[in-house]
């Protein structure tokens, strides 16, 4: 019973990935928009985009951490 509840909880924790997917998509769509408007800034903007990507991805990994906590700690 507890095992099953744990698995359900860990699975539910992955719902948070939807938000991260939207965030990462938003970062790169903004990058493409910006580069299309001003291609000369492409290099600088790419650096910002990668930083934004990493920060957004990290939020998704908090969900992963929650899943691991649910599975292995409690």
């Amino acid at each position: 019973m507890l095992e099953g509840a744990k698995l359900i909880g860990a699975g539910a924790a992955t719902i948070a990935l939807a938000g991260a997917a939207v965030g990462i998509g938003n970062v790169f769509s903004s990058l493409i928009h910006s580069v299309a408007r001003n291609p000369s800034l492409a290099k600088q903007l790419f650096g910002y985009a990668i930083l934004g990507f990493a920060l957004t991805e990290a939020i998704a990994l908090f969900a992963l951490m929650m899943a691991f906590l649910i599975l292995f700690v409690f």
Partner: protein, 337 residues
């Protein structure tokens, strides 16, 4: 009486007496004699489960009844070769030289070993390049690598930290970046160990750096550093809430800095392990179609390894740039925004 493994394990030791009492209530002689064998069998199973459970606590990993470790694989006695082990086994901390002093666990683990290897690698690389007072004017490959790293971090610091104190903090930031970079990249070597995939390490690093940044802030601004917690031009009734929020967000920075690195490393390595487990299983299905089709998962694993190399460098970069941003906040407060 059928006692399966799970039920036996759940029962605590103090329940043993009550079970005896319960069983003694069956005081009908004929019944008791028949049941005695079952009771013995039950307690044998109970003791065995307790023993296995105790061993599992020692090892930190849950093994099923009678299973044991052999060469990094779980082996089940009585048939069954190595089974696929958990993707988290690669993060297992293995004390190479055990040393416990009172409550302190001072063992030299594989984690310590790989950190030492990282330090030796970095020091020898930088040492070889800069020996006899500086490199050559035409650099060879090693010197180019070191110059690349140095130049990269120098640009980063110059861009992010304002004011005339950049050079003061540059060495610390360079060391942090190089250490993380080599730890992360070293973890990508097969059968090695990723030091940064343990939040013990990353949180220790981020917390100590963060305490250092706070000390720098207080050194430069004294008690005026507390104005960090209150943005300028805030109406007074709103101030208590904002101070609380800013305080929480300030403290959370330290936590998220460490967790980000650890989670990225651990997730990436587990993912590679899981997918290579698919490829490995598919390879040995003794079927020519699966054998050819195995190229698919194999290619995905290859691509993921490339991605992980990128993530290894990127996370070292992100960690460093965030340190620079936080340091800049502490040094310049609200000035250059």
């Amino acid at each position: 009486m059928n006692f399966d493994h799970n039920h036996v394990v759940i029962m605590g030791l103090n329940q043993r007496d009550s079970i005896w009492k319960l069983l003694n209530d069956y005081n009908v002689n004929s019944l008791k004699r028949r049941r005695q064998a079952e009771i013995d069998a039950f307690f044998e199973l109970f003791e065995r489960a307790q023993r296995i459970r105790f061993n599992n606590w020692q090892n930190g990993i849950e093994l099923l009844d009678g299973a044991e470790w052999r060469n990094g694989d779980i082996v089940i006695p009585g048939g069954g070769g190595p089974v696929i082990s958990s993707p988290l086994d690669q993060f297992f901390i293995d004390p190479l030289f055990g040393l416990d002093m009172g409550n302190f666990y001072l063992s030299f683990t594989n984690e310590s070993l790989f950190m030492a290897v990282t330090v030796v690698l970095v020091l020898s690389l930088f040492g070889v390049v800069t020996k006899k007072g500086g490199g050559k004017s035409v650099p060879n490959a090693w010197q180019s690598l070191v110059e690349l790293i140095y130049d990269f971090v120098l640009n980063l610091v110059n861009e992010q930290i304002g004011g005339n104190v950049k050079q003061k903090f540059f060495p610390c930031i360079l060391v942090t970046f190089t250490f993380l970079l080599f730890c992360n990249l070293q973890g990508m070597i097969p059968f090695s160990f990723t030091v940064t995939s343990h939040f013990l390490i990353t949180l220790a690093l981020s917390f100590s750096i963060f305490i250092g940044i706070t000390i720098v802030g207080f050194q430069r601004h004294g008690l005026h550093f507390f104005s960090f917690l209150l943005p300028a031009g805030v109406p007074l009734p709103l101030a208590p809430f904002l101070v609380l929020l800013e305080l929480i967000s300030y403290c959370f920075r330290a936590l998220s800095l460490g967790i980000r690195l650890f989670a990225n490393m651990m997730a990436g390595h587990s993912l590679v392990k899981i997918l290579s487990g698919f490829a490995w299983t598919m390879l040995f299905l003794n079927n020519i179609f699966y054998f050819i089709g195995d190229l698919g998962p194999l290619f995905i694993v290859l691509a993921l390894t490339g991605l992980e190399l990128g993530v290894a460098i990127l996370q070292a970069y992100v960690f460093t740039i965030l340190i620079c941003i936080y340091l800049n906040d502490a040094i310049n407060l609200h000035q250059n925004e």
